[in-house]
Symmetry: C2
């Protein structure tokens, strides 16, 4: 089997063990005599699998009582709309750390008043702002503060989360399950699964019951998070294959030792690449400030766009895939999600050093 | 391999040949060295696959110029909302033939004025109404007429489609690609793929450009069909695995001879079951009137709910799965989507006859 090193920003690398398991049982899900893509979402076999998925997630993230886990479709783009439709009554405060938080605010504007609580735009998104109760200017009647835990395009990641005394909504799409988080700090968390957790086509959300009680009920039931909680994510047909795949990934995470172990592994992996950048004497130029560096998406530039293009092309020839930066900003980017192996990172280190030797 | 006969109403049986192919290449999509769930939706390999999927669909359905094919998430429930958000300006007319058309109208009411053009509710949804320009009472300023080509719960299916001189919107979720249709009669067609075409998690829509020009543009871009047309369904990450699976199913359909062949096969399959009902001397009681009978969902009752329960249970023991009617109406139902084989139908015939002999 010719397996490449996959540094795509999402959809992205998945654990080989999981892929093999999915493949092996693809024609017969749990002795039902049907493929997982053929089973009814109203069957006991499906329900048991979904229940287990929720339980595993609660275990791995230590989700406290008073929260519900739901599965939805539509990706992050749909959540940019839904969080506002559900929770925006007076004012929504947004922390603009890059493209994704920015898009969320743009969509929210269709449903009510929003404002920027902080923005890194003027500095071209090089750092996550430090927000404390004393330093931020929270307006009265703020329903929530919205943040993006990891910005894939600029390569920034929140290291600690702000405690501002108002409900906190967080888009964790690109670093979900890459490290432990204290769920009790948040009122609403959501994550498109297509980075760390599974195939594109599903969002996992974690809703605080108390916050949900304040949500709007004058929108169609299908757009209400409360419907998904009440109907246990099967108000309509859920994306069965995605949830099944998530189940496998959660087992894999648990077997590896959980999120502490995963975080340590991810730190080690990211350090390998950042060290090459820091030791390159300016050949590789890291984009993010050190204390805001993402463990998931390492973004950097070379001296010229031509050299960056060459870097990505030669990497591809060496079976290192997906190193081109996002088309909106250019540059280079290595995405190091959970399933990217330490060996993959070492191969990238090796390539980066060879490339530097050849081109400096 | 112990493969059961799967009569589920959706998600439902998929072609065994397709399942095998997906399984075989699950670790390496098209020699990329990545699983299909790992490839980037911005890669050439993905784009080529999506393009081919669109081309195959255009071929199979003879989609004329002036239409676009798009892929979305959210299932039929999301379309109940989106068709109205996009196309409802003055009044939407709904033909109520069962639960699904009814739900579409309920959701549309959030976005504007709607009215029932016809309803089979008083007769407990036993027949599709005959609608002609002369007999229907179309109100002025009707933006569109909305129909559901096949109602899975009551087992009704439109045989010919109405020509009323206003745009026609059709939910084809449950009989999409089961027979040829004249796309030019419609202005907007959509279908959740989880019956005839693939795993739950994707909707295929066919939009007439001329109709789309009249759509609202004052809603968030992600909710506009125009965005999906303009961005070729990759405004955000599409449900890659679903679209890939659809691609395989379309190849399978083409190799079998296309939609004429599929329709003939489906007619033969359905006739097998309806014949048992009609020849059972009242042991099996068909729900739908003969000229409205669905080729996809054969709905019937037995003398008592107890006997119906026993029927489904004994069928399950004989590896005939999914014969219980929808929980909202009870009774029995055999769903005979494209991938249900003639052999499966013969096994069901055999079982029904044996069950009748034992219990009459």
């Amino acid at each position: 089997m010719n397996r490449v090193y996959n540094f795509n920003a999402g959809p992205s690398a998945m654990p080989l063990e999981v892929l093999r398991e999915v493949q092996e049982e693809f024609l017969d899900f749990n002795h039902t005599g049907m493929s997982v893509v053929e089973i009814s979402h109203r069957s006991a076999a499906y329900q048991a699998m979904q229940d287990e998925t929720e339980t595993l997630l609660k275990e791995l993230l230590h989700i406290p009582d008073g929260y519900h886990v739901i599965f939805m479709q539509g990706g992050g783009s749909m959540q940019f709309i839904l969080h506002a439709q559900n929770f925006l009554r007076h004012k929504g405060a947004y922390v603009k750390t890059g493209s994704w938080s920015s898009k969320a605010q743009e969509a929210a504007k269709f449903y009510g008043a929003t404002y920027e609580l902080a923005s890194g735009e003027a500095q071209n998104y090089k750092a996550i702002p430090l927000l404390t109760k004393d330093t931020v200017d929270l307006q009265p009647d703020t329903d929530y503060v919205y943040i993006t835990s990891n910005e894939t395009i600029h390569g920034l990641e929140w290291k600690t989360f702000p405690k501002l005394g108002v409900p906190l909504i967080c888009d964790m799409s690109s670093d979900f399950l890459s490290r432990p988080v204290d769920v009790s700090q948040f009122d609403f968390i959501y994550a498109g699964i297509q980075k760390n957790v599974g195939p594109a086509g599903c969002v996992i959300a974690i809703v605080k019951d108390e916050f949900l009680e304040k949500a709007r009920t004058d929108i169609p039931p299908y757009l209400q998070y409360a419907t998904f909680v009440k109907k246990d994510s099967t108000y309509n047909t859920p994306p069965v294959f995605c949830i099944y795949f998530v189940n496998k990934v959660l087992h894999w995470l648990k077997n590896l030792g959980g999120l502490d172990v995963m975080e340590a592994r991810n730190k080690k992996k990211a350090k390998l690449i950042y060290d090459v950048i820091d030791n390159s004497q300016g050949f590789y130029i890291g984009h993010a400030e050190k204390n805001s560096r993402s463990l998931m998406n390492v973004t950097f530039n070379l001296q010229t766009p031509e050299l960056e293009k060459r870097f990505a092309e030669e990497a591809t020839k060496a079976d290192l895939i997906g190193l081109k930066g996002h088309r909106s900003v250019g540059g280079c980017r290595a995405s190091l999600y959970n399933a990217v192996t330490p060996e993959g990172c070492e191969a990238l280190v090796d390539f980066m050093q060879r490339f530097q030797t050849l081109h400096s």
